[in-house]
């Protein structure tokens, strides 16, 4: 409950900051030229200027073969529904190996635009599989940083004083109008260890990927790539103890698609 209240306060502060960063100067004019006319809009003018839209995005659906000879699969998908500045976002990111789910992170977020390129995202995250499930409150930003870096930075507060943060940055380098090379960085941090989920405190893992996709259709692009997944510190120790590797270099074959 306290976490939710803190979250709400943070959202408020975030919105305020975004407004304050671009506030109107004293001399700005009024946009109202109505001369006191009422503002109601007539029926029959069916202007969809505040309509809701939806999108299903499979950012990555891939099969990986790593330098230890192991095979695994990976899914990173999202769905949104909403208007220009307010959307419901659902996200799912999962690791699969030997026909079972290794790790699955699901999020349900309210996405609210706070600037031309940035949205605030707030909601809940649930970690399932790969140990006891964990529930988190989530607050972050998603958007386009200068130099066209698609960025997501999210902080999480969980039960028993757990905390976490996740950063994801992608860039699309277009070689032709259809052939796109995408470098991608993902990093995860945890505030305190969670040995049952093989997580240590501090920087726990990074993934550096380089994927070359070809847009057969604008909405349908198979890709081939390399991904380097590395675990650090306590997370690496716990994985070693459990007999897992702490570093993999993978060749990935996958699909990027949306509807």
């Amino acid at each position: 409950m306290r976490a939710l209240a803190a979250l709400a306060a943070l959202i408020g502060i975030g919105c305020q900051c975004a407004q304050a960063a671009d506030s109107a100067p004293p001399g700005a004019r009024s946009p109202d030229y109505s001369g006191g006319l009422p503002g109601e809009h007539p029926r029959g003018m069916d202007m969809p200027d505040d309509a809701a839209f939806a999108m299903l995005l499979v950012d990555q659906l891939e099969a990986a073969h790593d330098n230890h000879g192991d095979n695994s699969q990976f899914l990173d998908a999202g769905f949104w529904y909403g208007t220009d500045f307010d959307k419901l976002w659902l996200k799912a990111e999962g690791d699969f190996a030997a026909r079972h789910v290794d790790d699955l992170r699901s999020e349900a977020l309210w996405d609210h635009a706070i600037s031309p390129w940035w949205s605030l995202q707030a909601g809940v995250r649930e970690d399932s599989a790969g140990g006891p499930s964990r529930t988190w409150a989530a607050l972050g930003v998603r958007g386009l940083a200068p130099y066209w870096l698609a960025t997501e930075l999210t902080g999480y507060i969980g039960e028993s004083g757990r905390s976490s943060a996740r950063l994801q940055v992608e860039y699309d380098a277009r070689f032709t109008q259809r052939l796109v090379l995408q470098p991608r960085l993902e990093a995860t941090l945890y505030g305190k260890p969670d040995p049952q989920r093989e997580i240590g405190a501090g920087l726990s893992s990074t993934e550096l990927g380089l994927r070359l996709r070809y847009e057969l259709k604008r909405k349908f692009a198979p890709y081939l790539g390399l991904a380097w997944r590395q675990r650090y510190g306590g997370t690496a120790d716990l994985n070693r103890t459990a007999g897992n590797s702490t570093s993999e270099m993978q060749i990935v074959l996958g699909l990027h698609a949306w509807l």
Binding site: A28, D32, P38, P116, W117, F175
Partner: protein, 578 residues
């Protein structure tokens, strides 16, 4: 009803017709015979040719209905007027009163708006403002006096229908014709997609660059790097990258999905207008597209531009002109040689073209030029006057800023995710033909060339200025005036018979053709002198354009960007004259 048969040129001889039919799959319009509603077709419309027929007189029956078409090689359904795409050319006479019965055979409400025509507000055909729209199965009767002459057009003002085909040309014969010509052709340019236009809109909301197949590439960066050095190439891109703007974001919907049509024919269909050498040929260009700009030229011929938006101009001779969505330009040409000439209309982003031919005999063709290089927006288009200075001369503290126009941004443009840029010092000069046409070696028309023969409609000086900013977010695909979408804004009120000035400042990097219903928009030069009457005023990126008007028609009127997808996103206002 009097029926004017289309001029001979619109009836190609049989061999040409056969050849044409063979080309249908290459992009001609193949209408299912018999699908045209004959009863309403005013009789003797030609079934054989998809060119727009012509109806003349004072009494018209128009039927909007779904019609099977094939414009791309794939069967599709258009919403046509009297089974034709474009709909029939309607010829009216200045001083007459016209009656138009419009019947809706679609499953959804429809409407017809008479674009650029001065008429009572309840005849303007905008659902919600003028009337309730025309319900399925119903007929609405428009009746109004015709008080003007020239080239105009009509189109549905309901939903996204305009993309799907219910549009056609209006030719109003003046009491006294100033420009005599032996041949007179409508050349209606439009854009067709087999996609459902609502789907197009949804795609733009999901991924605004979906249709842009001209995006900057790594290869270009490497080429620039070898020419300018890596640092130079980075510097050239720095501003764009920091602002997260794409200098190739010229239009939202492109030849990636569009087939560009001339009088309803794809380039392979080759619409042809006949002439005899030395004849004067009047071409009435109308941009009836939903979301496209065209750059038009006829290699080998000088174009004498004699009218804009239906209003006679002091003729100006050019090689090429850009026509914004909803504008019309009348052009006089006089081919002296006994050969074919290509009418070439490339889309502003060079992703495709419409094409036709002027020829002494049917079936002739001339070389079709390649489209020009893909244009790239400049600092002028991003920063207005400041960008121009950065371009032309080094900035120094001594520069005189006194003559510059300082934009007054609205409070609603700040802290607004729907506003991705603001231009503090827009450029005010009208002599820029626009991105992709600058310095191309041809004489290109610009707004600075326009001089209406009929001067200002009202000698009074404007009593006040209304400043409105064209705003948007290209990435999120949101469009608005002053950062407010239609549904967020209050109407704009003009006093009845008030003389006022509208100052538009384009705070985006796209062109926007702004159309005010009900009254003329009297374009001013940068010193506030009225130079031309228009109904649609194009505002280039980071440009300030002003126009005067006299609010002499009471009622509720639409005021909007005539790019369909911008309008539907909210770049729209209600204007109340009362």
């Amino acid at each position: 009803m009097t029926i004017r048969r289309p001029p001979r040129a619109l009836h190609p001889a049989n061999p040409a017709r056969r050849h044409f039919v063979q080309q249908l799959a290459l992009g001609g319009a193949a209408f299912a015979l018999g699908s045209a509603p004959r009863r309403a077709c005013a009789g003797a419309l030609e079934q054989q040719a998809p060119q727009p027929g012509t109806l003349a007189g004072t009494d018209f029956d128009l039927v909007i209905a779904p019609t099977a078409v094939n414009l791309t090689g794939h069967a599709s359904i258009a919403h046509t007027v009297n089974g034709q795409l474009p709909g029939p050319t309607l010829r009216w006479r200045e001083g007459s009163t016209v009656t138009l019965r419009v019947t809706n055979r679609l499953a959804v409400p429809t409407s017809i708006h008479w674009h650029g025509i001065r008429l009572p507000a309840d005849m303007d055909g905008v659902p919600g403002f003028s009337f309730e729209g025309i319900a399925p199965g119903e007929t609405f009767t428009y009746r109004f006096p015709v008080k003007q002459s020239g080239t105009y057009w009509y189109h549905s003002h309901s939903g996204f229908q305009e993309q799907n085909g219910p549009y056609g040309s209006l030719v109003i014969e003046p009491a006294v014709e100033r420009n005599v010509a032996e041949r007179d052709y409508v050349v209606m340019l439009s854009d067709w997609t087999d996609l459902d236009p609502e789907r197009v809109f949804a795609i733009l909301k999901q991924h605004s660059a979906y249709f842009n197949m001209n995006q900057p590439t790594v290869g270009e960066f490497l080429r620039d790097s070898s020419a300018l050095g890596v640092r130079g190439a980075l510097q050239a891109r720095a501003m764009w990258n920091r602002m997260r703007m794409n200098p190739r974001d010229l239009v939202d919907v492109t030849g990636f999905t569009y087939t560009y049509l001339m009088n309803g024919l794809a380039p392979a269909g080759n619409w042809t207008g006949l002439f005899k050498p030395h004849e004067r040929v009047r071409l009435r260009f109308i941009n009836g597209s939903a979301n496209s700009y065209f750059d038009v030229r006829i290699p080998g011929l000088k174009l004498s531009v004699i009218a804009a938006d239906g209003q006679d101009l002091h003729p100006v001779e050019v090689d090429e002109f850009r026509i914004a969505a909803a504008e019309t330009y009348d052009v006089l040409v006089q081919p002296h040689e006994d050969r074919a000439y290509t009418i070439f209309a490339q889309s502003m982003d060079r992703s495709g073209h419409a094409r036709g031919t002027l020829a002494p005999r049917p079936g002739m063709t001339a070389a079709v030029p390649a489209v020009d290089a893909v244009p790239t927006l400049s600092m002028l288009d991003m920063m207005g006057a400041m960008g121009g200075m950065a371009h032309d001369q080094p900035m120094d503290g001594a520069m005189d800023m006194g003559g510059m126009f300082h934009a007054h941004h609205a409070t609603t443009e700040y802290g607004n995710p729907g506003v991705d840029m603001r231009v503090d010092m827009p450029r005010t000069n009208l002599d820029d033909p626009g991105v992709g046409l600058r310095g191309n070696g041809r004489r290109v028309l610009s707004y600075a060339d326009l001089r209406s023969v009929d001067g200002p409609a009202d000698a009074r000086a404007p009593g006040r200025d209304i400043e409105l900013h064209l705003t948007g977010n290209m990435e999120r695909f949101t469009w608005s005036f002053d950062g407010q979408k239609y549904s967020q804004a209050r109407p704009i009120r003009f006093g009845l018979d008030e003389r006022l000035r509208i100052v538009l400042v384009n705070d985006t990097m796209m062109n926007h053709p702004i159309h005010l219903h009900g009254v003329f928009s009297e374009l001013e030069d940068e010193h506030g002198v009225v130079i031309a009457r228009k109904h649609t005023i194009n505002v280039q990126p980071a440009q300030r354009v002003s126009y005067a008007l006299t609010a002499d028609s009471p009622g509720r009127w639409a005021y909007h960007c005539h790019l369909l997808y911008h309008m539907q996103a909210g770049m729209f206002r209600e204007v109340v004259v009362a």
